[in-house]
Subunit: 359 residues, 2 copies
């Protein structure tokens, strides 16, 4: 049975990538061992690492004055790294709270810098909505503005960037490579790998060079952007296997036509699922249409007593990990890059049949 | 051709483990996806995680008053984590320097605590030697004593533990599970995974409960022992695939007879290699016998102009990654748990033949 995995993260990886990883696992390129078992300082891995960086630069058209860092510690690590690297003494940072993850970023940053948090999630006519970017209260002199444009738990996304003189810092863990972005408008972009990039344990940071901290700052080394940049992300042993898998994903993305092609496909996937939900009285999504996430689609059953049955019947039909986040309940379909259109179509077909039987 | 990989790290993993990982990569236990693609909070991964912890507890006989933490950030992350979690305000820590890694730990710790470092590496009669544990100058009131009993670059190891009232903190990255230890004598044991445990990116910390920091301390979350302990190492998404592989290694170790059996096998491997080197004028090791590492065996050729030829001929014979560390030169054979005795025997046979031809 073909299965489709809707897990929010660690999420499914492209089937082609997993097959290549399996083929190469015991004997990478005839070397007699796994890429996982090679020195990060050897020629072979260095080449894998450099190719992955170049492919990412190509995919996102990253300008030359940005460093691409392959780090440990996940998004939570970056929640610390951002204020530790970027906060100026005595200067406040602006934090935009649009959901669970941007709120968690605030709680972490408060350990390391003064900040002003503003909650932009509101309810309008019964729908969850967001304050538009143009209405945010921003301080041009802030150390930086931090936001998370796609919230995986809340299923909410915004696209427009704010206008401010402070550097923009964005947690793109759940949207990186899913749509085209203009990197030059950001100061720092970071992303845990486990949604659109690779396995958990690897974290990407794309940092404008002028924002790197001074040498010799008292930041824990594994969170220090300067050390990572000056040592090609090899000051300490990087998570090499995750880096290799990320490289395979980047090559797969290029074969798919790049980020622009993914954006079109992702729009189709989201339209297909939201479109069906909206015409149904059996299912519902309570996010205002212009703020709906194209990556994480939470939906509720009108009869919540059917939740467990929905999840178990879906699983029996090869539709995995649809149970909603524990903070929200209901269902959630995460439809990152690796989820093919057929996966979403199969889900919609199942939802129709479930509605027909139980509606 | 059978290959043997002598890389110092990321190092070889047991062949059986890699084969099982390959078999399970696309479809773990019939679930229709990889363990890498599953939520860390789902039943399946939670079971994998708990089993790995239990197996490690069994293997090292870890007392119940110790927490086992599966963290991000490698040994370097722990270089920061140890002082951040354990240093008492206004109290100095003792750092023992026996080689490159314990020196690096000092440089990191100086960012976060007052400390007194003492270099115990000395030269005696032309051989590198170490000051015996009983002669260390220790402060019973220190926040902790940090040491690294096996230095991978220097190829030096000591076994005896010091006597002091301060908690012992040991970097066992390169020796954990290679010999039996009495965990109850330590305050904290930590280890990057990429030598004796699994792939790089995962880090183990075994922490005596009374040394956990207070709740709500201003430590970066990914380095906070308390947060990790209170959340079963899942405050942030852990490196799940590395955790799974570590679990397979622990099960393999149990099938091999546990740590005590590995210790015997490791002693045989080391004796076989050092024994041959010592009776040869063509090769030499300059560490005093009682301080020789049983995991990392550096050796020099009398005629250093043959170094490159040695490495390339070894590789042609399936003996991989023997080039010495860039700080030391010569050769280095890392013979962690996963290296079978036959691998060392094959290396010795090759060394004999190389000596016969070029000696």
């Amino acid at each position: 049975m073909t299965t489709y995995n809707f897990c929010a993260g660690p999420a499914m990886l492209p089937v082609e990538v997993m097959q290549q990883a399996q083929d190469e696992l015991l004997n990478w390129h005839g070397r007699g061992c796994s890429i996982m078992e090679m020195s990060h300082r050897g020629k072979d891995f260095m080449q894998v690492a450099a190719q992955a960086e170049q492919d990412l630069r190509d995919l996102l058209r990253i300008p030359a004055n940005y460093k691409v860092l392959f780090m440990h510690g996940g998004g939570r690590g970056q929640f610390s790294a951002v204020p530790l690297n970027l906060a100026k003494p005595g200067v406040s940072a602006d934090y935009i709270v649009s959901g669970a993850w941007s709120k968690a970023a605030v709680e972490e940053a408060e350990k390391f810098t003064a900040l002003k948090a503003q909650n932009i999630q509101i309810k309008q006519a019964g729908l969850r909505s967001l304050v538009p970017t143009s209405d945010w209260q921003l301080n041009d002199n802030a150390s930086f503005v931090h936001f998370c444009p796609n919230e995986t738990v809340d299923g909410m996304e915004f696209i427009d960037l704010p206008t401010t003189k402070a550097p923009l810092v964005a947690d793109l863990s759940s949207t990186i490579l899913s749509r085209s972005i203009d990197v030059s408008r950001y100061g720092v972009i970071y992303a845990g790998a486990q949604k659109n990039i690779g396995p958990s344990g690897l974290t990407l940071a794309i940092v404008r060079e002028d924002l790197l901290p001074a040498k010799g700052s008292n930041i824990p080394s594994v969170l220090d952007y300067r050390l990572a940049a000056d040592n090609d992300s090899m000051f300490n042993t990087p998570p090499t296997y995750a880096w290799y898998l990320a490289g395979l994903v980047f090559q797969w993305l290029k074969r798919q036509g790049g980020v622009e092609a993914m954006q079109q496909r992702n729009a189709l996937k989201a339209q297909s699922l939201y479109g069906y939900i909206d015409q149904s009285d059996f299912y519902r999504n309570d996010v205002a249409p212009q703020f709906r996430s194209s990556m994480n689609v939470p939906f509720l059953l009108a009869d919540e007593s059917l939740n467990d049955l929905f999840v178990s019947e879906a699983e029996a039909n090869g539709l995995l990990a649809l149970k909603g986040h524990r903070m929200v309940g209901g269902m959630r379909a995460s439809i990152y890059n690796a989820m093919p259109l057929e996966g979403v179509q199969t889900l919609v077909t199942f939802m129709k049949e479930f509605e027909r039987v139980h509606g």
